[in-house]
Amino acid sequence: MADELIIQTVDIRKRYGNVEALAGVDLKIPRGAVCGLLGRNGAGKTTTIKVLLGMVRPTSGVASVFGLPATDAKASLEIRKRAAFVSEDKDLYGGVTVGELIRFTAAFYPQWRADRASEYLAAFELRVGATTRELSRGMRTKLALLLALSTGAELLILDEPMSGLDPAAIEQVLQIIVKQAGRDGTTVLFSSHQLADVEQIADRIAIVDRGRVVVDGALDDLRDAYRRVQLVFDGAAPDAKLQSSGIVSLRRDGRVLSVLCKAGEAEVVAEARALSPKGVDVLPVSLKEIFLETVGVEN
């Protein structure tokens, strides 16, 4: 049961005219995971999420949620009964009160948790009589989260849930997501640009770049797998081409040659020693470094 996949996509592709938004997304998220979906703007995070929720039809590939095909209209209804979503722009109906919107949403979910709605109303300090137009972006985000968290869903899909929130509110939301996942075993897939937030609560990471998942796995495994081998030379670092397997990137900066490798750092160290460096250090790597290196951004 622990290894049951809640989300599985195989080679999902989506084209909009000449633009390839998804170029073969392969994603596996087991039940109970809190998975952070990372990627630059336009990498394909939101499109992937929309495919899972039946909002976008992929050009090809297979996407399943709860073992149901996300591209089938009837199955998608069943998926959406069991999954809750908060969109990136937190667009809610205008001109209705918080209380009306809660009652409206509750009507679609037989497993609606009124106790949770009351709990989050108090926690987020939302007034039931306030209209959605009166709410700030941050408060609208909180209302959208309240609605999603109260559905009793087995799967929460949150697209940039922390956008528009101040640091205190971000911390509050992060704690609530962790609490929800912990007490109900809810699976959470959330996209974010805030690597620190992802690192704080996620136990799995998927990095999307140019429409592909380039890194996917448990955060601890990734931290264990990636290492930075730093070589310091007396003079300028040599223009060496290391051949060891597992080298993700190699960078020279003055006297320092820095090698990011995925597994097999011993092989890299052995090869690097042949260059006669003054010192060799093997350092742990942060999620930010993994992200920046895999999406090809110079740190």
């Binding site: 929309k50 929720l53 039946g54 909002m55 976008v56 039809r57 209209a73 209804l77 069943e78 959406r80 009964k81 809750a84 979503f85 969109s87 722009d89 667009d91 809610l92 109906y93 205008g94 001109g95 209705v96 409206f104 949403t105 009507a107 679609f108 979910y109 959208a144």
Partner: protein, 250 residues
Amino acid sequence: MLWHKAWVDTRWRFLIALALLLVPACGSSLSFPSVRDFLASIELPVVADEEAAAAFRESLELTRTFRGYAWSQWFSQSFPVLLTLFAALLGSGSPLVKGGSGALFSLALPVARGRWIGTRAGTALAELFVLALAPSLVFAALAPVVGEQFAVTEALAYGVSAFAGASLFLGLAVFLSTLFSDVWRPLLLTCAGALAVGMIVPHDYGLFQAMGGTSYFFMGTLAWPELLVGAVAAAALAYAAAANVARRDF
């Protein structure tokens, strides 16, 4: 809940349209005695054109009775035009407009896309039905106030005729709303479509004649073929709207 949302989304348009139809309907009914007396007091002008003179005499003749007055001044003239305009207004604006207010929130709910469109179209259709019947029944209700009689069945016949015809334009607006992401383009294009139907189809035939209840006034029968075509086309357009939304990406 979907019906409630559709009602909340359209209620102001509906209530304003209802007021804009009821006020002139009441005014026309209550002003009948003064109009009749005024027309009886004027002398027929001498017109060289015999055809125009005949038309004028016929118009005067119609206004001598409450039935003729109601039909010639309201049911065959401003009523079909106003109802067409309000049908376009009620049908414009989809609940699943891309980038619109709450579209992604709606799509994430466990509700089929076709049900969203169907509920919205159904609500607008029900509102259109009320807009068609309420002012028609005003004539039946207010006729005794001015010492006249106007059969409820006749009021219903005019109301149903106008409703069946206007439902075509409602269907067109619903369909166009699934193609455009704003309210104004579906509204304007539907009005342009109505104008085209009014101009292209010969004056003595067609949808607007049927909506005005001409055949009922003169012969006591509804223009079934035209009204049926209007209703079937409306249903086809609503179906096309649902099919279009079902295949779209958001």
